[in-house]
């Protein structure tokens, strides 16, 4: 029943089944996730067929051979086995396994060993306890939690090839509509690629338990049109905006411990432990997607991060409300 429901929903694909959400693996939007989707339909079909046949046999035997109400009490004939029958039901599973293996191996090699084209964008993903760092080595950009990549079309293929590593424990990078997940392991570099076919926002989150706030280590991937992406790159390459109107906030930021963990390019803040804040105001969320990037949320976050994300490694600095207000005002200018 379950299998049937899943395969109907997967193959039919209409929204009616509710399986086309923004984190559904049955709503693929890139080449690797699409080929996984096609393979999954084949596998689901095969297993469904096995389930119908074998499950049917079990239920038929269970119903057909129950003790009749008017049973004479004589034991049924005792049969101890049959080599022919047993051989036949050994060979059929062997054939199924071979077919399944060949179909699977083809997709494994197609995805895992795909060559990296020269037009590819390179991104280094670094997992941290409970946020994501993204570095674009060729573009000299560092950002956090919200990954921007260009759309990749057949005419203009611009896939994104990622190298993944971790600064602390094992995480796992998973944006279901764009690619299967890949673990983010310390002292090791893993690789993953994707080529989003349509612009938009794609959601995901960390998929390997990594500590207390694993649940709020969310991921957002923005797939931009070539123009949007170029504009975003240009903006990100700028140093932090310095607005004299919020000098008090900046001073507060730089004299507090904030600079030990955070970087704002063009200022003395060079910390590496927390997310880069150079363009914080251009991000839609804070705390790795745990809250929208509004002034109110930012103030709460700076006042006491546990209010939004209990167990976050950012400490509460016990600031006065004026200090919180000034720092928030400063951060809000960092477009």
């Amino acid at each position: 029943m379950l299998c049937a429901a899943v395969i109907l929903a997967a193959a039919g694909g209409p929204r009616a089944f509710g399986l086309r959400t923004n984190t559904s693996i049955f709503s693929p939007a890139s080449t690797p996730s699409s080929s996984i989707y096609s393979l999954s339909l084949f596998v689901l079909g095969l297993t469904l067929a096995i389930f119908v046949v074998v499950g049917g046999l079990i239920l038929y035997a269970a119903v057909r051979f129950r003790q009749p109400a008017d049973d004479d009490g004589v034991e049924p004939p005792q049969i101890f086995g049959s080599n022919q029958i047993e051989l036949s039901w050994t060979i059929i599973p062997v054939l199924i396994v071979v077919v399944l293996f060949l179909a699977t191996a083809r997709i494994i090699f197609a995805i895992q060993d795909a060559p990296q084209p020269t037009s590819a964008l390179e991104v280094t993903v670094i997992g941290h306890q409970y946020w994501w760092e993204f570095r674009y080595p060729t573009l000299h950009i560092t950002t956090a939690n919200e990954l921007h990549i260009p759309v990749s079309t057949e005419k203009d293929p611009r896939p994104t090839f990622m190298k993944l590593t971790s600064a602390d424990v094992i995480h796992s990078f998973w944006v279901p509509r764009l690619a299967g997940k890949e673990d983010v392991v310390p002292n090791r570099i893993n690789e993953l690629w994707m080529d989003a076919h349509t612009p938009g926002l794609y959601l995901g989150q960390c998929a390997q338990f990594c500590g207390i706030e694993h649940a709020k280590m969310l991921l957002r991937v923005y797939v931009d049109t070539p123009e949007q992406f170029a504009a975003w790159v240009k903006q990100e390459q700028q140093p932090g905006v310095q607005d004299p109107a919020v000098a008090a906030g900046r001073q507060e930021f730089e004299t507090q411990a904030c600079v030990n963990c955070h970087t704002i390019a063009g200022t003395p803040a060079h910390g590496q432990f927390g997310p880069d804040l150079t363009h914080l105001a251009s991000r839609k969320t804070i705390a790795s997607g745990a809250a929208d990037n509004t002034t109110e949320n930012l103030e709460r976050w700076i006042d006491d991060p546990d209010l939004i994300k209990e167990g976050s490694l950012m400490p509460s600095m016990h600031l006065t409300s004026d200090q919180v207000h000034d720092i928030t005002a400063y951060l809000n200018t960092l477009q």
Binding site: F51, V97, P186, F209, G211
Partner: protein
């Protein structure tokens, strides 16, 4: 079963008297249980111990399900939630299902072999107490809270405890130490009992009980014990390494010093995958006894069943990295583990077909054990198929660590193993206590548990497909997971109610159940030839057998089984 049972030769019916009740104060009685080396008493203690922790682990599961009932729920905090799923997993695997299957084996293997005890009774008692102390050590972490010499609280690293999350740097306090020590201690107990099963099966058989006349249950316990020996030992070694890292400043899993996080995953799953088969072999074992007796037919293809079990045992040692398709193995490595995992499906398929063939042409009596057995067959089939789905590496890249995986392995462990063990409890309870479990309550238990199980775990596959990862204490409201999680939680509570019925049935039937007599199911293996409960020495005279079904031969002198050559 009184009705329809054939009077046994030897005029058994009239002569049965239960073993004299043990006289003495309650303290003396308790003492007799603590110091016992009797395999039957130890078996009962294993099962009671497992049932106690089953309640505890179940309550942890319900706390998890309440927390996930609403998005952004605040029933428990993230720290508590993480402890709950860590303790739930560790408890259910190591302190529920393992002691449960060890208890079954302890009670049944010597009886089925016509032996008077296990090969090493004192090692047997030692093993039980090691397992028991392991569980206490794990749960002591709760009590040894922050107040006690800075000890931590319950472990919160997941039951798979991937490094380096377990290192001193990321797991402060002592909770992870309790976890590692508990598994080392109970691991020695498991290895001890496994050695005992193997020595018992090979060295304690009664006259005429050649290897190929042994009940299939004993064969499966041999395979299970082999897997415990080859799989729990690596886990123990890995836990020792973890303890060296945490206490002596070692670097086995220290990524800062050049150590590898992946090697822990390998070590853990070299244990972890065969462990599934450690748990499932006894479930197969119960099926091999229950299905023939209630279908009134001999097991179909005994040699094939033995070969398939041994085959599954061997293959299961070479599939561990299918838990690690996303950890960054090469394409060749991934392809290898796809193939090896697929191979497990072949002997497993043979087993299912042989069980169906055993039912085929029989006269199936639907008493509670057989209901659970049919439930097992259908659900184990589905669990196997979702296992095949997960073994397809690219599909696994999407499904790994999602709720689909959670649903899959609960299908195996609850829908498969637990259903089989329930069948076993209903089947052998009369032998152990001398009283029948209540049929009406048993059917309530079955149907409630079946419904709760399917509501809970069928639906649980879908949030995984919709991208819900495991181990998260809360989720965003906009992901479309809310309704599904609510259905799952309702199913969990229905199962909880079924378990209450089950526990009530056990207590009620222990006190007031119908007298069972020695052979209530009209069965064929040696344990049914002695009184219920059996005397401390099991058999007044040591049995002699000449076929696989000694009691069939006695009941059907006109149509005995083919005697097999020794």
């Amino acid at each position: 079963m009184a009705e329809g049972s054939i009077p046994l030769p030897g005029g058994l019916g009239a002569e049965v008297t239960p073993p004299e009740a043990f006289d003495g104060t309650w303290l003396e009685r308790l003492h007799s249980w603590v110091v016992t080396v009797d395999h039957k008493k130890l078996g009962i203690m294993y099962v009671l111990y497992a049932l106690f922790f089953f309640m505890v682990g179940g309550i942890e599961a319900l706390i998890i399900r309440i927390q996930l009932f609403f998005p952004d729920n605040h029933f428990v905090g993230p720290e508590t939630f993480n402890r709950m799923f860590t303790m739930h997993g560790t408890t259910m695997i190591f302190f529920v299902v393992m002691p449960l299957v060890f208890g079954f084996g302890n009670y049944l293997v010597p009886l089925m072999l016509g032996a008077r005890d296990m090969a090493f009774p004192r090692l047997n008692a030692f093993s039980f107490w090691m397992s028991a102390f392991g569980g206490l050590l794990l749960y002591y972490s709760f009590i040894g809270g922050v107040g006690l010499q800075g000890a931590g609280n319950a472990p919160d690293v997941g039951w798979w405890a991937y490094s380096p999350l377990t290192s001193r740097a990321f797991s402060r306090g002592h909770s992870t130490d309790y976890w590692a020590l508990a598994l080392i201690v109970s691991g020695f107990g498991s290895i001890g009992v496994a050695i005992n099963f193997i020595a018992t099966a090979f060295c304690m058989r009664c006259k005429g009980m050649t290897l190929f006349r042994m009940p299939l249950l004993v064969w499966l316990y041999i395979v299970m014990s082999g897997l415990v020996i080859l799989a729990v030992s690596p886990l123990t070694a890995a836990q020792v390494m973890l303890t060296i890292d945490r206490y002596l400043g070692g670097h086995f899993f220290d990524t800062q010093a050049g150590g590898s996080a992946v090697i822990w995953a390998h070590f853990f799953w070299i244990f972890g995958h065969p462990e599934v088969y450690v748990l499932v072999m006894p479930a197969f074992a119960v099926m091999n006894e229950v299905i023939p007796v209630f279908s009134r037919k001999a097991i179909f293809g005994y040699p094939a069943m033995v070969a398939a079990s041994v085959g599954i045992g061997f293959v299961s040692l070479g599939v561990w990295a299918h838990h690690m398709f996303t950890i960054g193995m090469t394409s060749i490595g991934n392809a290898f583990f796809v193939l090896s995992t697929g191979l497990v499906g072949i002997p497993t398929g043979i087993k299912i077909f042989n069980w169906v063939a055993t039912m085929w042409g029989g006269k199936i009596r639907y008493r509670t054990p057989m209901l659970f057995a049919v439930g097992f067959l259908v659900q184990f089939l589905l669990a196997g198929l979702t296992g095949i789905i997960l073994s397809v590496a690219p599909f696994n890249w999407q499904l790994h660590n999602s709720y689909f995986v959670i649903a899959h392995f609960h299908y195996v462990i609850v829908g498969g193993i637990l259903f089989a063990l329930f069948a076993g409890i209903y089947y052998w309870f009369p032998k152990v206590t001398g009283r029948m479990l209540d049929e009406r309550l048993g059917k309530w238990h079955f149907w409630l548990f079946l419904i709760g199980f399917h509501v809970c775990f069928d639906v649980m596959h879908i949030p995984g497909i919709l991208g819900m990862p495991r181990s998260i204490y809360t989720y965003e409201a906009d992901r479309g997971w809310t309704t599904l999680n609510q259905i799952v939680s309702v199913g969990a509570f229905v199962q909880g109610i079924a378990i209450i019925v089950f526990v009530y049935n056990i207590v009620h039937s222990c006190l007031k159940g119908r007298e069972a007599g020695p052979d209530p199911w009209d069965a064929w293996t040696l344990e049914w030839s002695t009184t219920s409960p059996p005397p401390p020495y099991n058999f007044a005279t040591e049995p002699v057998v000449r076929s696989r079904r000694p009691l069939w031969d006695l009941k059907h002198p006109d149509d005995p089984d083919e005697p097999l050559e020794a």
